[in-house]
Symmetry: C2
Amino acid sequence: MIKIENVSKIYKMGTIDVPALREVSFSIKQNEFVSIMGPSGSGKSTLMNIIGCLDTPTIGRYFLDGIEVEKLGDNDLAAIRNKKIGFVFQTFNLLPRTNALKNVELPLIYAGVSVKERDKIAKSLLVDVGLGDRFEHNPSELSGGQRQRVAIARALVNTPSILLADEPTGNLDSKAGAEIMEIFNSLHQKGATIILVTHERYVAEFADRIIHLFDGKVVKDENVDRV
Amino acid sequence: MIKIENVSKIYKMGTIDVPALREVSFSIKQNEFVSIMGPSGSGKSTLMNIIGCLDTPTIGRYFLDGIEVEKLGDNDLAAIRNKKIGFVFQTFNLLPRTNALKNVELPLIYAGVSVKERDKIAKSLLVDVGLGDRFEHNPSELSGGQRQRVAIARALVNTPSILLADEPTGNLDSKAGAEIMEIFNSLHQKGATIILVTHERYVAEFADRIIHLFDGKVVKDENVDRV
Ligand SMILES: Nc1ncnc2c1ncn2[C@@H]1O[C@H](COP(=O)(O)OP(=O)(O)OP(=O)(O)O)[C@@H](O)[C@H]1O
Ligand SMILES: Nc1ncnc2c1ncn2[C@@H]1O[C@H](COP(=O)(O)OP(=O)(O)OP(=O)(O)O)[C@@H](O)[C@H]1O
Ligand SMILES: [Mg+2]
Ligand SMILES: [Mg+2]
């Protein structure tokens, strides 16, 4: 369960304040699938960074499974980031000069999984995202969409209970995009909570609910009707 | 006039060959507006890098305004890249720790334009792309879509006669995307040649013609009917 309570985020640029989020409040239940939409610059990635425990609110509170995240120690936060939450960054954040397989294995190395086991898991995920023939390629030897798919595979490798995906299909053609959404769907059916940022309506509608941000505020929170 | 003649591009990964383009041939006339579509990994960015004189074919020839690019010296190539061609990279390639204004001014600094003049041109372009209030932000202080728009402004700052844009709206919501396409349209009406890579059909249809790549080959070359 995720509870965002009156959260504002204000970036400081020297003497200027840049408000990115303004008194945002909402909750997301366990195993819910929620999309976040909104214009460029409206605060979507800022909100995802807070939910993913990568950044903290300037004002307001964030509760994860009933516990206020601000009160957690560094070890608890590291365990949450590594085991509970899978994050697909908008900018991918792949390790340069490191091949696709190693990039995907990285979270498993931190989690102490054996070499044989992590090799098997990482390879099977790269195959799932259509990169069975790109294990040895470094990020500079992959196309934009292929890098994005490596980042998706890395986010899934620890079978997270919460998946945060920031524009996961932004660099993909509609076929590759649909394949990724199928993978997210099956993770959702296995019980995971999924929060997805997208600017494409047809992708947002894979979710049960869409939260709309504008200029840092929640301006709409709609259910997706399944006909 | 751009003429691609039987061009293949094969990347070498140790002992393995990775064919990215396979015997591609087509021509693009002065002041034509052409889109390139194709699945992730089909060779679109590789083709754009060759057309933009940033990479060379493994086999085949590339003619720009009747001159074979391979025969050009470094000074000619630098002048083409800086004055004739504007490039919006799929990965933006902005200078980190350098604010938006300076990033956009960069091509004008190389071209020897005065401080006052380049400040005026760069500011007006940032306003055109909706970033009038982000001059002082570095890339790390901008959202994904805002960074993309800085990269677009930088590509336009030298009023290029050829604009190469690789997924220019990939990180933008439909409103911001439409605003960018309006700017490209007006550049086209002033006589520029525009080549645009996209995976979104409605963006591709702003062009006169769509070239479809699949697995490194041109599989279709269609005119866009204007009704
Ligand atoms: N330096 C390299 N070394 C080896 N292979 C490479 C290299 N750069 C690209 N490739 C391969 O060449 C193929 C074409 O890449 P390219 O970047 O042109 O694709 P693209 O059509 O732009 O895809 P996307 O839509 O994902 O951006 C891909 O399969 C990619 O893995
Ligand atoms: N470190 C920072 N310092 C100052 N301002 C920032 C910083 N990071 C982000 N911003 C500003 O905060 C606002 C929200 O940014 P955010 O990245 O959350 O937008 P977004 O909704 O994800 O947009 P996009 O769709 O373009 O990715 C933007 O206007 C941006 O300029
Ligand atoms: Mg964002
Ligand atoms: Mg590409």
